[in-house]
Amino acid sequence: MDAFIADLDDLGKLIKIGRCKYNVYAPIRKGGSYVFSKVEDIHNIDLRYNRTILPPTKLFHRPRETLLRFKLNDGFEFDEVLEVESMMIFGVHACDLNAILRLDRFFTRRFEDPYYLARRRNSVVVALNCNGPRDEYCFCASLGTGPTIDEGYDILLTEVEGGRFLVEVGSKIGFDLISEAGFMRASSNYIEAKRTMASTARRGFRRYADFRGLSYPVIEVLAHSVWDEEAGRCLSCGNCSLVCPTCYCYEISDVVDMDLKNGFRVRRLDSCQLYGYAEVALGGNFRRSRKARLRHWMVCKFGGAAGGELSSCVGCGRCIFYCPAKIDITSISSRLREAV
């Protein structure tokens, strides 16, 4: 294993090197929250962030993007529009990296999604291990999706002392970047310090979730009274799915220019929490009730929808934090667990 040691200045150097080839995105404070945004000034990066509003998966799977462009002349013509962007995404937590790894598999199943891959395959991920829960909303430890990660990164940072990071390399691209930055090799006591940190980081979590037994549509889950109770509070706003790192559902529509001659086919993130999501012809709708929609979303996060494990929860805590009705997947799942 290639391991190096770096302080904050060294990381600044790594970002500078990254900026020659990539648009560098990192957690930056905005208002009272954090966002992965393009780094203009490295001093704005806050590696002590709890979580960003939108997960980094949405840098690959864009909330809105153009799929193709068309001309509405005689017959019509169309061209692919592929927005490629090479990104270095800096400071990705284990939960969010696990979500990226799931979407990598999701978007390369029977078919490949060229739009997701155009960005994913041209990007590097600099992951950041957490030394414990970032706040009371985190529950990755109970799902095995954090707080540390061992795979899927190009570069992995672990803060082993205040302001001092163990830098591990997970890919050729990652190795080249680190070589260019000329980081010092880590001595064995730093590697040992990281091991100790990784083994103790799981302690201290106060929020837990256990989805075992909830991922298959069994009657005990589907017919449970918890759905009626929680759906009574749900506003069907779609926040949960918007901020969820493994939510990818989208709607496709055509947008025509004012001249009625040119247009675009675009896709936008959609949400199963919205009424129109399960609509079919003639106003048919298979999830007309809020209860059915909330249940669908949450069972999806248990791994029980068509995306299976690939759309399931990674324990980032966003949906709980951003739910205006404070609907909590961890408390619902524990009530359901009592029934199965």
Partner: protein, 273 residues
């Protein structure tokens, strides 16, 4: 290969089936569309959008393909205005069709309702072409009124032969119209069937409420749930297993279906059948 990019197809002919259903025959500008009975395509009318439509023509003919379209929304409304020579975009074919091969040696009962006849037609044509590989073959088809019966001429022609029994029914007969077949919902025809439920498969497509009653009655008659096949309607936006709209529980209708055995789909939530 970008799976979102359609290929162009030209309308070569248009037939009016009923008051709100037309059958369009298309030819791809380049290449041929090979498909299986029960599969669907995504049809683009640029500037309006894309819609999933079942292929309704003979799967052994790849020179052209046909889509029977009911006018229900934006895309189908625009398709309805198209004449010979018009160009549309096509992606696909997508999905898993009817178990034609797997059903060899069995009796086959086909049950259709309304424009559910469209995805059944390629299966019927295929079964008739290989008629000697199957036991008894019966087709039950119902629509709202005599004016809503699709492929009526073809059904009547098939019924004239000895290969296949065809029973037609309508819910109501409007005043001053003629109808020499049955009246009542399609499941009322189950009293008249002669296939052997224990060694039969059923291919069903129609409104989901109709399919629910059909499944219930067929199981009562002794059909095995795993031998009852349904073509499910959901809004398959992408056809690629990504966009999420067609999910029924753990199934993607666009990838795992649209044809499912009842035993596969029965445990899933958010459906009527």
């Amino acid at each position: 290969m970008n799976p979102y990019i359609p290929v162009k197809a030209r309308v070569v002919s248009v037939r009016t089936e009923t008051t709100d259903v037309k059958t369009f025959r298309f030819k791809l500008i380049e290449g041929r569309l090979k498909f299986e009975a029960g599969q669907f395509v995504e049809v683009s009318v640029f500037g309006v959008g894309e819609a999933p439509i079942s292929i309704s023509s003979d799967p052994d003919i790849d020179d052209y393909f046909e889509l029977s379209v009911r006018r229900v929304g934006n895309v189908t409304g625009s398709l309805f205005k198209l004449n010979e020579g018009a160009i549309v975009g096509i992606r696909g074919p997508y999905g898993r069709g009817w178990p034609i091969r797997e059903s060899e040696g069995m009796d086959v009962l086909v049950v259709g309702g309304g424009c559910g006849a469209a995805p059944l037609r390629p299966a019927i044509l295929k079964l008739l072409r290989n008629r000697n590989r199957y036991g008894r073959l019966e087709i039950l088809y119902g629509a709202r009124t005599p004016y809503d019966i699709m492929y009526r001429g073809e059904f009547e022609k098939v019924a004239e032969g000895n290969d296949c029994r065809v029973l037609l029914t309508v819910d109501t007969i409007p005043p001053n119209s003629e109808w020499r077949y049955s009246v009542g919902v399609v499941t009322r025809l189950f009293d008249k069937i002669s296939v052997d439920p224990r060694r039969s498969v059923a291919f069903i497509c129609g409104p989901e409420v109709m399919m629910m009653y059909a499944v219930r009655d067929l199981i009562r008659l002794g059909f095995k749930p795993e031998n009852i096949y349904l073509s499910m309607e959901r809004r398959m936006r992408c056809g690629l297993g990504f966009c999420g709209h067609c999910q029924i529980g753990r199934k993607y209708v666009c990838l795992d279906g649209p044809v499912f055995s009842y035993s596969e789909i029965a445990p899933m939530p958010d459906k009527i059948v």
